[in-house]
Symmetry: C2
Subunit: 189 residues, 2 copies
């Protein structure tokens, strides 16, 4: 009986890959076990439950997303920062659909989540520094940006933009234009 060399990290990484190829909803203990050519029961020595496996994927994905967005953001400001942030966000979501889907699951306020989601919010606020908003406008703007990016990416991936001849890319650029314009002339009433 050769050992497969399972560790929580490797199991979660494999599950994340599986999510991207087969969909997050198809991430199961059995499916991941098959990847390692191991019985599903064997995974329970490393990961307590399916829920923990999926939460692990979510935490991993949030961290990756924050990394990539952070890297894209480095050294930019104002409109440049907005566009870089948005494009990095969308690129990650489209390249890693399963990982991105995992970030939607409501994970209990775990420590790992706190850090990654916190970084995310901090970066969004960093963008807004170029637009000189004060509270509570800044919070409203953060939520508007996040909503728009999240919604766009989900609809795009779900095929919601397939009708018509206008490309999703063009509409995306247009949306960024609109957001930049709104942020530049924030109606603070």
């Amino acid at each position: 009986m050769a050992r497969a060399g399972l560790t929580p990290a490797r199991i979660i990484a494999a599950a994340a890959d599986l999510a991207d190829t087969d969909g997050f909803e198809n991430v199961s203990m059995s499916a991941v076990a098959r990847l390692f050519e191991v019985k599903d029961a064997s995974l329970y020595a490393h990961i307590r439950s399916l829920h923990e496996l999926r939460s692990g994927v979510a935490a991993l994905s949030l961290a990756e997303l924050a990394d990539q967005v952070g890297a894209a953001l480095a050294g930019r400001a104002g409109r440049d920062a907005l566009v870089a942030f948005a494009n990095a966000y969308r690129t990650y979501a489209l390249n890693h659909p399963g990982r991105y889907a995992s970030t939607q699951m409501s994970l209990e306020p775990a420590v790992a989540e706190q850090s990654a989601a916190g970084r995310h919010a901090a970066m969004t606020r960093a963008i807004l520094r170029g637009y000189a908003l004060s509270e509570p406008d800044e919070t409203d703007a953060v939520r508007l940006l996040h909503s728009t990016f999240h919604g766009f990416v989900l609809l795009e991936r779900g095929g919601g933009f397939s009708r018509g001849t206008r490309s999703a890319n063009a509409s995306w650029d247009s949306a960024l234009n609109a957001l930049h314009f709104t942020l530049s002339h924030w109606p603070s009433s």
Copy 2:
């Protein structure tokens, strides 16, 4: 053996209620069968598969959503129409989380879907008539609106706006302000 009086419509309606109370991901043949005090196998005389059941819920929900949004929109124009549309949309999503979640599932271009989603898009375009956009700006604006509403509602329901003291309602109104402003001064470059 008394008959339970199952029909596709009643089964789908029950499934939709179950989605709202227990979550769309928990809509299963077994769970719906339990509601009718019937064995799960009995449902297959009326509904071919779990996928068909869920698609049915999605079609029902899309139709309901279109109805409510359409009713809210009646007789309004311009900013009024935008706000009415948006609030009806959000209200439906928050009051019927499971039904709303069902509308996210990618249903094959079924006939039923065509009609409801088509109505939805037509109504969004009706709003924009007050802003005098021409193609392709109108398509971009439709997508921006839909993305923002969809993203906001999902994040709100997922607890994404729990941090901080700013209420979701206030941020929502602020987002509508911003959208109205952007639509009024659409940067057509």
